[in-house]
Symmetry: C2
Subunit: 332 residues, 2 copies
């Protein structure tokens, strides 16, 4: 495992993006956002994902030079078209708009259509929190999970993000509506391990922790069974209607690759609304940390705290990148 | 089981509320909202809950004559104090404010503190949808669930509601962050049944479907295990900071009964933003309904569709009320 500096990784990725047609300012933003994800320990949606971005540029799913354009503005709400531009810079731009609206109206809401994979949804929650705002956002995805009571995959594992600002490390839930990602299921199988809790159905129709069985059916479980199925449907429906963009079903019709998604990004100006919010946040965290532990040696972390632990390590010791991933990036 | 008319039930409950000090207009609103929940088949948060409301009035948790007062207004955001008034009429009032703000600003957000149990959270989602808006709302609760990795109960089973308007029956997720309510766990035990999926931990620290075991530990499971734990914490943190009201921890300090809660109610004017939203909603629903079924004879229902099925039955045949519940209400 290499441990590289943020500057080195970002520089290389920027050069590769420019080489594949991305304007310099978009390339810089895109690369820096990806590096931040790896710094936070979200490798799957950080540097590791870079080759797929280049592939999507080459396939024309991502239109290198396109940026979002305003479709409609109505007070604290704006509808934008992503014009199939770069997914993470599109989402960053729209959360910036939501923050600006929140500074004016208390709350701001952006619906974004025809955009691309935003990588780590938490990026935009943290962005809102950096501006003293609560960040709420979600995206739809390809159809990759069966609805509750169904066998074939017609709903998305649509991630939902809630982020509250906190000095020294924002508090954030950033979670997909599937109990486990396909990547996590594959990793468990390759490691010869069972999943820690049930993750899907086996070929007999029973709920199982066995990743190999789940990979045979691809009937992955939503969080909370019927509840996560319902949340997933609602997130898709809100994103598709507010943006007038593609629903999960329509994204599925575009083919095997995932592009032209619909997203919603909301910011609420907490710092202005409740200037002493920090004390409330701290009180809640301290109460939870004071819980009686299941394992005395395992402290209870607040949502997103694991990322700050990774962050400190990676900033001090370099960002971990697999040799094979780095070689494939250098060859792009 | 009695099958009573909506008018009869509402009339009796209004009289009892007035007898216990509630002003006539609040009593009418409160009773009608409760009856609607029973019509929709949500009996636990409908008529069945009425005796507890009277008990809370008598104990002084609910201040019969109090209504919400505005703390602060900032564009599309308002902070209200519920003054410990009636929970469901307070929440209804605040969703009305959110809808009014949404009609002006596209989106409206209300934070409400010092309020009481809103009964069925879905009430306010449906209220937003009736006005052509997307409704998003949540409340905190007593501490009644352990955080992930903890044994003692310090987080809430905070329900989260997403509702999208649809002609003939709105689409809605209305779900608490616990996989099962205490009531559902008790009902399963009384019926001698196992829960259909794991609902908590047994005395050995293992995840179990056995309701009797879960009642020994009260270590109920959040939906999606660590994910629901994180969502619960975020919902509480957002409600407490935006309203400057009690967090779950502080509600717990008030004693065994649940009062003085914090809530957030958001409306987005979908009808104005995307006038043709109905077609998008219908497309998503039809796609999901066309899924390959696990059980050929069990059709796949859209979120909240089961309530519309109950609704039609109950409006035609009368609202089911247990004799014992009705007798206890008549005696109040």
């Amino acid at each position: 495992m290499l441990r590289l500096s943020r500057e080195e990784i970002s520089q290389v990725m920027q050069e590769k993006l420019v080489k594949h047609g991305v304007p310099g300012d978009v390339a810089a933003d895109c690369a820096n956002l990806l590096v931040e994800n790896s710094i936070d320990g979200i490798y799957s949606h950080g540097v590791n994902r870079f080759p797929r971005i280049i592939s999507y540029l080459d396939k024309g799913y991502i239109k290198a030079g396109n940026v979002p354009t305003l479709v409609e503005s109505f007070g604290a709400f704006e509808k934008w078209d992503g014009n199939l531009g770069m997914g993470n810079t599109n989402a960053k731009f729209c959360m910036d708009r939501a923050i600006a609206l929140a500074h004016t109206y208390g709350i701001g809401c952006i619906a974004l259509r025809h955009t691309n994979h935003w990588m780590r949804g938490g990026t935009y929650g943290l962005q809102a929190a950096d501006a003293g705002c609560i960040g709420i956002c979600w995206t739809n995805t390809q159809p990759n999970m069966p609805a509750w009571g169904a066998k074939d995959r017609r709903i998305g594992n649509n991630p939902l993000i809630f982020c509250v600002p906190k000095e020294g490390g924002h508090v954030m839930m950033d979670g997909a509506m599937a109990q486990f990602s396909y990547g996590a299921i594959e990793s468990a199988r390759l490691a010869g391990k069972q999943l820690p809790v049930p993750g899907g159905f086996d070929t007999q129709g029973n709920i199982t922790c066995d990743p190999a069985e789940i990979e045979k059916t691809w009937r992955v479980l939503p969080i909370g069974y019927w509840k996560g199925s319902c949340i997933s449907i609602m997130l898709d429906m809100m994103a598709a209607t507010l943006s007038e963009g593609n629903s999960v079903s329509e994204v599925g019709k575009l083919g095997e690759d995932e592009f032209s998604l619909s997203q919603v990004l909301i910011a609420i100006d907490l710092k202005r609304i409740t200037p002493n919010y920090e004390a409330i946040v701290e009180h809640i965290i301290q109460d939870i940390k004071a819980s009686e532990r299941v394992d005395e040696n395992t402290q209870i972390l607040y949502p997103n705290e694991p990322c700050y632990i990774s962050r400190q390590d990676n900033l001090q010791n370099g960002i971990p990148v697999h040799e094979s991933v780095w070689e494939s990036i250098l060859a792009l």
